[in-house]
């Protein structure tokens, strides 16, 4: 494919993304959700949770009062610590190749963080974050609930995904960045997204934990109250880990002003930022003259 045709396709895909979000934003259902939320979380259908509102990503977008929300919890070890995250001591059952792959990465965050020659596929190529790394972005997300599916819109990317309701997974879904997602409601306060069909190009998080195409992600969203959404994300990947494991359960706060300024990823902008800001900090310190 020529560079020109490639560029045209990228622009088309970008426009499609904006058009999709814009179309959703002007549907009556979404307009209702954009309006100021009621004092207490309501249940639209009477038998499942109402996820309306705007939610802060776990990357630090919206602090929760009381200081209970550490930055970027979906990079932590399952114990909730950062100092050992992404090391053999972090409690995650890495298969040997997965640990070796992790140690070969040069991530932007975590104990092994570096600005120097990152291998981050999102920073280098603007490849989609994937799941659950999309929640590492310091931006916001929003659910759009319909009878047949729940759409999840993310400011960062600009990315959206669909969790289909009332259906089963495909027998052999094509591997993609965001996978194939099936949604289901549990009780009156919880929504569960079960995803498979991922490619193996993305990282699970911003410290570079790898995964295989056997990745199976379970996201559990429990609406604690009007202002708090509790999230538990479980990784079940027999191709990279010897047992399922979960990131520590954390809550995100309700936010406002969804998509007032979206955050498209640009390789050109990433490179410019790296050259002007990050690279100078990687030059070894020279001895100072006395």
């Amino acid at each position: 494919m020529s560079i020109g045709r490639n560029l045209i396709l990228r622009v088309r895909l970008g426009l499609f993304n904006y058009a999709f979000v814009a179309a959703l934003a002007f549907t009556p259902a979404l307009r209702a959700q954009v309006a100021a939320p009621p004092a207490a979380a309501k249940n639209q259908s009477g038998d499942h949770v109402d996820l309306s509102g705007v939610w802060g990503n776990l990357g630090g977008s919206v602090p929760i009062s009381g200081g209970e929300q550490p930055a970027g919890p979906y990079m932590l070890s399952p114990k909730g610590t950062m100092k050992d995250a992404g090391t053999p001591a972090d409690g995650i059952p890495y298969q040997p190749w997965a640990m070796a792959k992790l140690m070969s990465e040069r991530p932007p965050s975590g104990p092994r963080a570096t600005f120097d020659k990152t291998t981050d596929p999102n920073i280098l190529y603007c490849e989609l974050y994937g799941v659950p790394r999309i929640y590492n972005s310091p931006s916001k997300f929003k659910f759009v609930q319909t009878p047949e599916a729940v759409y999840i819109l993310y400011e960062y990317g600009v990315v959206w995904r669909v969790a289909w309701l009332n259906r089963m997974h495909s027998a052999d879904p094509d591997p993609t960045y965001m996978g194939e997602s099936i949604g289901s409601y549990e009780g009156k306060d919880t929504f569960v997204v079960d995803s498979i069909g991922f490619n193996d190009k993305t990282w699970l998080d911003s410290i570079g934990r790898p995964h295989s195409e056997k990745l199976h992600v379970i996201e559990r969203f429990r609406r604690v109250n009007q202002d708090k959404l509790e999230m538990t994300i479980t990784i079940d990947d027999p191709g990279a880990y010897t047992a399922p494991w979960s990131y520590p359960t954390r809550s995100v706060a309700s936010a406002k002003d969804f998509a007032r300024a979206v955050w498209p990823c640009s390789v050109r902008e990433n490179n410019a930022f790296n050259e002007s800001v990050e690279e100078p900090t990687t030059i070894p310190t020279k001895p100072t003259k006395q």
């Binding site: 990357g59 630090g60 977008s61 602090p63 930055a71 970027g72 991530p107 932007p108 965050s109 963080a113 570096t114 600005f115 920073i123 590492n136 972005s137 310091p138 931006s139 400011e155 960062y156 911003s206 002003d257 007032r260 300024a261 979206v262 955050w263 498209p264 990823c265 640009s266 902008e269 990433n270 930022f273 790296n274 002007s276 800001v277 990050e278 100078p280 900090t281 990687t282 030059i283 070894p284 310190t285 020279k286 100072t288 003259k289 006395q290």
Partner: protein, 126 residues
């Protein structure tokens, strides 16, 4: 880059932070996140852009002329939550910047907050 010269320009160094609210999706590996530094300068450019905004400013140096700094801040989607606009900083503004500086002493850093000449404070949201 002469770190000794920089030391003259830095007004306050060493305020210890137990934790920082700043989280940049590109990370903060190049910065000393446990030390706050205060720098006064004159804005030469304000880039309202992704993945992170960039504040360019000159710091007066009595021996080597103006020293050109670049400090990163949040992207527009984050800064607007803290009350910023693309016009918040203009060329020629005299400002005081609270930053976490580069570990290697180069004139780079990540913004904590900026205080404008009129006393208004704009917090960073990284």
């Amino acid at each position: 880059m002469r770190i000794g010269t920089f030391a003259i320009l830095v007004l306050a160094v060493g305020l210890f932070q137990l934790s920082s609210p700043l989280f940049a999706h590109h990370g903060t590996a190049g910065y000393d996140m446990e030390k706050d530094t205060v720098v006064k300068g004159t804005i030469t450019q304000f880039e309202w852009t992704n993945p992170h905004g960039q504040i360019h400013f000159d710091v007066a140096d009595s021996t080597a002329g103006a020293q050109a700094w670049i400090v990163e801040c949040g992207p527009p989607s984050r800064l607007i939550e803290a009350g910023w606009t693309r016009h918040s900083l203009s060329v020629g503004d005299h400002v005081t910047l609270h930053i976490h500086g580069a570990k290697n002493g180069t004139p780079r850093g990540i913004l904590i907050k900026v205080v404008l000449e009129n006393g208004q404070t704009l917090e960073n949201r990284a």
